[in-house]
C-alpha cells in the first residue's frame, strides 16, 4: 500500500520542523532521504512509526513498519539470533534466523553476545532484524553509520535482496556512496 503524508505540520516549541508537508511513498518504492542535520529526517521517521505525535496533517494508517534506529537498540547480553527472534518467530525458527543472519555476519559470531561484537557488526544485526521482521515498510535512520565502504555496499546489497518488495525509506548523510543504486532521493 502507498503511504501518504498530507499537510503535515510539526513544531518543537517555537521551532517549526514541518509546515504543510506532503509526501507519497509508493508501495515497493526505494527512497533515500537526505537533508542537513536538524532538518527533521529522524522526526519524520518517528512520526511515521507513531512514536511522535504531530501537530496537524494526516498519515496513512495500518502500515506495519520495521525500523533501524540511529542507535542499534539491541537486547543486552543476547546473541544476534536472539535479536531477530525477539521481533519475529520462536525457538523453532532459530536455525532459519541463523541462516538469514549468515548472509551479513560471520557464522561464528551469530551465537555471541552482541556486546562482544564490533560496532559495525552490531549495526548489521540491527539491519538484519528490520529485514527479518514482518512489515510493509522499512524505515532506516542512518543505517550505514560505522560501516566502511565495502561493508556498506555488501550491506546495501543484502537489504535490497531481502526487502522482498517492501517500501524502503532510508535517511543518510552518505548519498554520494549510493549514487549507483536506484534510489529516488527526497529532500526535506
Amino acid at each position: 500500500m502507498d503511504i501518504q503524508i498530507k499537510d503535515l505540520s510539526h513544531r518543537f516549541g517555537e521551532k517549526s520542523v514541518f509546515e504543510h508537508f506532503d509526501l507519497t511513498l509508493q508501495d515497493g518504492g526505494l527512497y533515500g532521504l537526505t537533508a542537513p542535520s536538524g532538518r527533521g529526517k529522524t522526526t519524520l521517521l518517528r512520526i511515521l512509526m507513531g512514536l511522535l505525535s504531530h501537530d496537524a496533517g494526516t498519515i496513512s494508517q495500518g502500515v506495519r513498519y520495521s525500523a533501524v534506529f540511529q542507535t542499534d537498540r539491541l537486547l543486552p547480553g543476547r546473541c544476534a539470533v536472539d535479536q531477530l527472534l525477539f521481533v519475529r518467530g520462536s525457538k523453532k525458527d532459530r536455525a532459519e534466523a541463523a541462516r538469514f543472519l549468515a548472509g551479513l555476519l560471520p557464522e561464528n559470531s551469530l551465537e555471541q553476545s552482541v556486546g562482544e561484537l564490533s560496532g559495525g557488526m552490531q549495526r548489521r544485526v540491527a539491519i538484519a532484524r528490520a529485514l527479518w521482521a514482518e512489515s510493509d515498510c522499512l524505515l532506516m535512520d542512518e543505517p550505514f553509520t560505522g560501516l566502511d565502504e565495502a561493508t556498506l555496499r555488501q550491506t546495501l546489497d543484502f537489504i535490497l535482496a531481502k526487502r522482498q518488495g517492501r517500501t524502503l525509506l532510508l535517511s543518510t548523510h552518505q548519498k554520494e556512496l549510493l549514487t549507483d543504486y536506484p534510489f529516488e532521493w527526497l529532500r526535506i
Binding site: M49, S66, F69, F86
Partner: protein, 249 residues
C-alpha cells in the same frame, strides 16, 4: 574473576572465622561470667545438647515456616501491587501514603499492634510480611521504571507481543532491583520475625525458646539459639537468592 570456591577464598574465609571466634573467646574470658557472656565452646556444647531434642526442631521448623510464609506472601504481594501500580498511576498515588507509612513505622509498633489484633500464633508471619512488603513494592516499581525506553519503543514499532516484552525487557530490568531488595529484606524478615516471637511468645518458636533462655538465665542456650537463627537466616537467604537468580537468567 576467581571462583568463590577457590582454595584461596576458602582459606581466607576460614581465617576470618577463626579470627572472630578468637575475639569471641577472648571477650568471654575477659568477662569471665558465663551467665553474662557464653564462650564459643559453651555455645557449641549447648547447641549439641539441644540438637537431638524434638523441642529444638519443632521451634526451628515453626519459626522457619512462619517467617518464610511471611516473606513469600510479601514477595508475591509486593510484586503484584508493584506491577499494578506501575501500570495504573491512580493506584500508585492511592497507596503511596500507606506504603511510605509502612516503611517508617517502627517494627516494635507493628509487633504490638499485630499482637493486639491477631494474637501471637500468626504474629511472625504478619510482621515479616509488613516489613518485607514495602521493600519489594518499591524495588518492583524502581526496576520496572528503569526499563530501557529505547527498547520499549523498538518493541512497540515491531509489534512485539506483550508477554515477550514482559519477559525480555521488563524482567531483566526488574531482577537486579528485586534481588538486591530481597537480599536486605530476607535478613530483616528474620530479625523482625524473631523479635516478634520473643515479644509474642507463640508456641513452637525460636522466639519462645529465646525468651525462656532469658528467664532461666541460660546464656549459652540463648547464644545457641542466636547461632541457629544466623545459620537459618543465611541458608534461607542464599536459597532464595539462588532461586531468584536462576529465574532471572
Amino acid at each position: 574473576m576467581k571462583p568463590a570456591t577457590s582454595p584461596r577464598h576458602f582459606l581466607q574465609g576460614l581465617l576470618v572465622t577463626l579470627f572472630w571466634l578468637g575475639v569471641w573467646q577472648a571477650v568471654s574470658m575477659l568477662v569471665a561470667k558465663p551467665v553474662l557472656f557464653a564462650s564459643p565452646l559453651d555455645t557449641i556444647r549447648a547447641l549439641w545438647v539441644m540438637l537431638p531434642t524434638s523441642a529444638y526442631w519443632s521451634a526451628v521448623l515453626g519459626s522457619l515456616g512462619r517467617i518464610a510464609l511471611g516473606f513469600f506472601l510479601a514477595l508475591a504481594l509486593g510484586l503484584l501491587l508493584g506491577v499494578a501500580a506501575f501500570r495504573f498511576s491512580l493506584l500508585r498515588t492511592l497507596i503511596s501514603p500507606l506504603l511510605t507509612m509502612m516503611k517508617t513505622v517502627p517494627v516494635a509498633s507493628f509487633i504490638i499492634l499485630v499482637l493486639v489484633w491477631f494474637g501471637s500464633s500468626s504474629l511472625a508471619v504478619i510482621v515479616a510480611l509488613l516489613i518485607v512488603f514495602p521493600q519489594i513494592y518499591f524495588a518492583t516499581l524502581s526496576g520496572l521504571e528503569s526499563t530501557d525506553q529505547e527498547l520499549l519503543e523498538l518493541a512497540r514499532v515491531y509489534r512485539v507481543p506483550r508477554r515477550r516484552v514482559a519477559w525480555r525487557l521488563y524482567r531483566p530490568a526488574l531482577w537486579p532491583y528485586l534481588t538486591g531488595s530481597c537480599a536486605s529484606a530476607l535478613g530483616m524478615s528474620w530479625k523482625a520475625g524473631i523479635a516478634a516471637e520473643v515479644i509474642g511468645n507463640p508456641a513452637h518458636s525460636i522466639g519462645e525458646q529465646m525468651y525462656l533462655s532469658k528467664i532461666y538465665m541460660a546464656t549459652a542456650e540463648l547464644f545457641a539459639w542466636t547461632l541457629t537463627v544466623i545459620l537459618l537466616s543465611t541458608v534461607f537467604e542464599r536459597t532464595v537468592l539462588w532461586l531468584l537468580r536462576r529465574v532471572g537468567k
